[in-house]
């Protein structure tokens, strides 16, 4: 095998690993995002009226005006998601799934979680917003 072929194979293998890590990220991240929302895990709280940032979850106050957690939830999700997907990408099983017959069989089925999980999370999100639906 020539050096060029070896380099090409290595590039293909790295490309596959990168793609699989991205898919793992997209399976995990929506769950992490909803967990951050439900359990109040924003990395920071932003007060748009005063342009003030505080670490973690801070309640709204009369001095600071309304609090925004969405930016903080996204950053928490990004850090946790990239970390977990990175770890999964490093695992030898995901690096070369064809070497493991069970994993290579299961992977396409597991990937269905990409579109199933957001649909499962939707009722959870709607329920978490019950304050808006029940407010009179």
């Amino acid at each position: 095998m020539t050096t060029k072929n070896l380099e090409s194979n290595e590039a293909t293998r790295q490309g596959q690993t990168q793609g699989q890590a991205l898919m793992v990220f997209s399976v995990l991240a929506p769950c992490i995002y909803v967990a951050c929302n439900l359990y109040h895990w924003p990395l920071f709280t932003f007060f748009p009226a005063t342009n003030h940032l505080t670490w973690g979850w801070t309640p709204m106050s009369d001095d600071e005006g309304p609090a925004m957690y969405w930016y903080g939830w996204l950053l928490s999700t990004l850090i946790l998601g990239v970390g977990l997907a990175g770890l999964a990408g490093l695992s030898s099983a995901l690096k070369n799934p064809t070497s493991n017959p069970l994993l290579s069989k299961l992977l396409p089925h597991v990937l269905h979680l990409l579109w199933i999980l957001p649909l499962v999370l939707l009722p959870v999100i709607v329920y978490s917003l019950k304050f808006y639906w029940l407010h009179r």
């Binding site: 991205l22 898919m23 925004m68 990409l114 957001p118 999100i125 808006y132 639906w133």
Partner: protein, 163 residues
């Protein structure tokens, strides 16, 4: 900057750009998802069939870029919305409208988190095992895009910047 242009005009311009980007994204992702659900056996004759008869993979990069740019524009506007639109909406008792906006916020965030996986699925066109996942993930992103567009549009009708 606000010496030259009124704050409401500035945010309205940004909102219009956000809306136009969303329309472009809507067109691209609808085209791609309908093309995935076409029946390859019949020749395109009707308008819908012609609409579907495109190569869906050519839209992937454009959709990823448009989704991210539209998302970041929305994120920029969101802080201003929180002060100048949401507070009056709550004072006027539009709780369901606000609730739907919250669903839009969460679904768009989840859609953005799906973009890396979506991109990877479209980069692996040679793997038939991914075909169904690719099809349904694309359809889900299209549904999120349509829902978010309609909610944003209705909410802007209820109360836009500068109302």
């Amino acid at each position: 900057m606000f010496n030259w242009i009124h704050s409401d005009v500035f945010w309205s311009i940004l909102l219009i750009i956000h809306g136009l980007l969303a329309v472009t994204l809507l067109g691209a992702i609808t085209h791609q998802s309908l093309a995935l659900f076409r029946n390859l056996q019949s020749a395109p004759q009707s308008l819908v069939k012609r609409f579907q008869s495109v190569r869906p993979e050519v839209y992937t990069r454009t959709i990823c870029i448009l989704w991210l740019v539209t998302f970041f524009m929305g994120g920029w506007i969101y802080a201003q919305y929180r002060i100048t639109v949401r507070i009056p909406l709550e004072q006027q008792g539009y709780w369901w409208s606000q609730g739907f906006f919250e669903i839009k916020e969460h679904m768009v965030s989840i859609g953005t988190l799906l973009i890396p996986g979506y991109w990877a699925l479209w980069k692996n066109l040679d793997k038939p095992a991914f075909d169904l996942t690719r099809k349904y993930t694309t359809a889900l992103l299209a549904a999120i895009c349509w829902f978010s567009f309609l909610v944003g549009h209705v909410l802007n009708n209820i109360r836009g910047f500068g109302s």
